[in-house]
Amino acid sequence: MIINTTILSWVTFIYFGSAIFYIFKMVTGKEFWGSLASIIAFIGLIAHTFGLILRWFESYKMGIGHAPLSNLYESLIFFSWTIVLLYLIIEWRIKSRNLGAFVVPFAFFSMAFASFSPNVNARIQPLIPALQSNWLISHVITCFFGYAALTIACGLGFMYLLKGLEKGERPRLFFRFLPGREIVDELTYHSVVIGFIFLTLGIITGSVWAYSAWGSYWSWDPKETWSLITWLIYAAMLHSRFVRGWRGKRMAIMSIIGFASVLFTYFGVNYLPGLHSYF
């Protein structure tokens, strides 16, 4: 195994530890576990970044240099990286560690799927002609930052719904440690806005790439169509908030539905009949 994949599979365990401690924090309400989880996640992010850079270098040493954004393995690794990066920025901005239990597990799952699934090839491969494009790089980066923000929105949606389970005047168990509903709702909205803008940029950069590689900026192939569906779902969600003033539970549910659509765009599309059987 090459060094970068070894480092990256270690990062998987680091995120696992971090996720566990975030869950401890949520259940016990003790700030100690939260700090520990944050520190571990931060160490994980540094190692993760190092692993990505190393992978980049290794590809150049092999004479097939390219940014590590070109196949399923690399995209999963990058997805996880954007989730943790964005999450830690948010944690630092809102000064609250409650969200970690709902977000860091996604980063762990993505890493674990990349590192341990037999269907995911971790080798550094050269770029086939269709992928030799700078638009591809901007496409992948914008899409995955968008996906990461929408992942966080989904985590917030789950948090909101979990909070909704509490009953009675004095909340029992860990419910009382969760932040107030308005805050969660507001954060969900902001994450969806960020995600939506990146998603829009992702669709546009993807079209530019398609226009230079395939001769058509839009050809209704399943992946394109599903990205449009996802976009429409979030557009409907934002409009129902702006104009109809929907808040709270409905937003939480829509952020989860939207995220399911993101996941389908990312993975599910491979099971549909495709148009582009390309080289």
Binding site: T200, W218, W226, V243
Partner: protein
């Protein structure tokens, strides 16, 4: 009646319903195979269902009448909504409210009011200075005991939504122009050959170009691990037999000629490439000849007729091979001659016993050797002419701009009142914003800090 239609077209319920219907229809479109994928894949649905689907145009959904109606309704909805709201937004933008309103100062929290140890005349100049530096469209009004100021910023933020919606209409317009006036086509051209007719996509027949394309050469480069690295067609574009443009066409690097973009989309080899083979006898040098499929030659000593039956680029994943038949007056045999026969023999022990047909020395005392196959390629080109592209690009750019304006700017309005207070001054700051309450709070606090440093 007119009113009902207008209010239907301007309702956001319609927007959300349409967005959801289009999303669901698009899901259908990704499940039901669409026309351009060839008729084979939906045979299994059964003739009854196919008929129903056909009449609903479900096999070419994105170009069907009802999908276009949905998109048209969405555009109409967008236009009517925008026209409806525009006057109100314009008023918000162009009318500057008077500085001496009392509403902004109602229920003002105590931290928005300052008492300064200077009289009013000393204070108002620096207040005005600060406001003019930070805000636009400053208005001032003086009364006997009070000076009022109004300032605002980000008034344009009210138009972000219109920019988004208008740009989406522009994108749709560009797409319509492209589908009405543009075309997609493909053509395969063998090396050395030229053509000026191409096949239109979606089974619309053929099209004659007013120039000729020639493929001079097609080549593939590979990485060390065997993955393709580059597909390259050397193309020439001719008018009246004069070469006007020449260049290599690579994937991701289309060539534009006469407003038509050419893409490297496909390739293949043409049956009937040439095989370069050597016929040896014992240890002699042998003779090397080039043969095509169906060629034959004689081996005089044995009175044998050798015929080339097939030439394969890659037979059963074992590389290039040719099938040879040999007829003599006494016998008749066929066998394969592989290029990589040594490797194949080493990896399968006892190969020639098991499969005599793979033995290139089957016809003793001769030994056949395949040196290489010189195949001839054709290149598959995709052509596209789309006059709507630049419109779509401009629209997309403004969608992004509109998104940034809508979500990252806000219309902040500020009222400042300076009252005489027995030789001192009292400054009150009231502010409103159409969104971003956090930013508004930060800004007013900043302003208040400045004011309090004056005293």
């Amino acid at each position: 009646m007119k009113k009902i239609i207008l209010s239907f077209l301007s309702s956001l319920k319609l927007t959300i319903t349409l967005l959801i219907i289009i999303a669901v229809a698009s899901i259908l479109g990704t499940i039901i195979p669409q026309q351009y994928e060839g008729g084979e894949s939906f045979r299994h649905l059964g003739p009854g269902l196919v008929k129903v689907f056909n009449s609903l145009q479900l096999f070419d959904m994105y170009h069907s009448v009802w999908f276009i109606i949905l998109m048209g309704l969405l555009s109409l909805n967008l236009i009517v909504c925008s026209l409806n709201r525009l006057p109100a937004s314009w008023k918000l933008f162009s009318n500057i409210p008077s500085p001496d309103r009392s509403k902004p100062f109602e229920n003002l929290p105590p931290d928005r009011v300052l008492l300064i140890e200077k009289n009013r005349n000393e204070v108002i100049d620096s207040v005005e200075n600060l406001l003019t530096r930070k805000y636009k469209r400053i208005r001032r009004k003086d009364t006997a005991s009070t000076t009022f100021f109004y300032g605002e910023k980000g008034a344009y933020s009210n138009f972000g939504v219109y920019i988004i919606h208008l740009s989406i209409l522009i994108v749709i317009t560009g797409a319509i122009i492209g589908s009405l006036l543009g075309f997609n086509a493909f053509v395969n051209i063998a090396e050395g050959e030229s053509t000026s007719t191409v096949h239109l996509g979606r089974q619309k027949g053929i099209k004659k170009l007013d120039f000729t394309v020639r493929c001079d050469k097609f080549s593939i480069a590979y990485y060390d691990n065997g993955m393709p690295k580059e597909y390259r067609s050397n193309l020439s574009f001719l008018k009246n037999n004069n070469v006007i443009l020449q260049g290599p066409l690579l994937v991701n690097h289309p060539i534009t000629f006469n407003g038509i973009r050419f893409y490297q989309a496909n390739y293949g080899s043409i049956p009937g490439g040439q095989a370069n083979i050597t016929v040896k006898k014992g240890n002699d040098e042998g003779t090397t000849i080039k043969v095509k499929q169906k060629d034959s030659f004689f081996l005089k000593e044995k009175d044998a007729k050798v015929k080339i039956l097939r030439i394969e680029e890659n037979l059963m994943s074992m590389g290039p091979a040719v099938l040879i038949s040999i007829q003599t007056p006494e016998s008749n045999m066929r066998f394969w001659v592989f290029k990589n026969i040594e490797k194949i023999r080493d990896s399968i022990p006892g190969l020639f016993k098991k499969v005599p047909k793979f033995n290139p020395g089957l016809f003793k005392p001769y030994y056949f050797k395949l040196n290489r196959i010189e195949s001839k390629y054709y290149t598959g080109l995709q052509l596209s002419h789309d006059p709507g592209v630049s419109i779509v690009a401009i629209g997309s750019f403004f969608v992004i701009l509109g998104l940034f304006i809508t979500f990252f700017s806000s219309h902040k309005r500020l009222w400042v009142r300076v009252d005489d207070q027995e030789g001192k001054s009292r400054i009150s700051v009231g502010a409103t914003s159409n969104k971003d309450p956090v930013g508004l709070k930060r800004e007013t606090e900043h302003l208040l800090r400045h004011f309090s440093s004056m005293g």
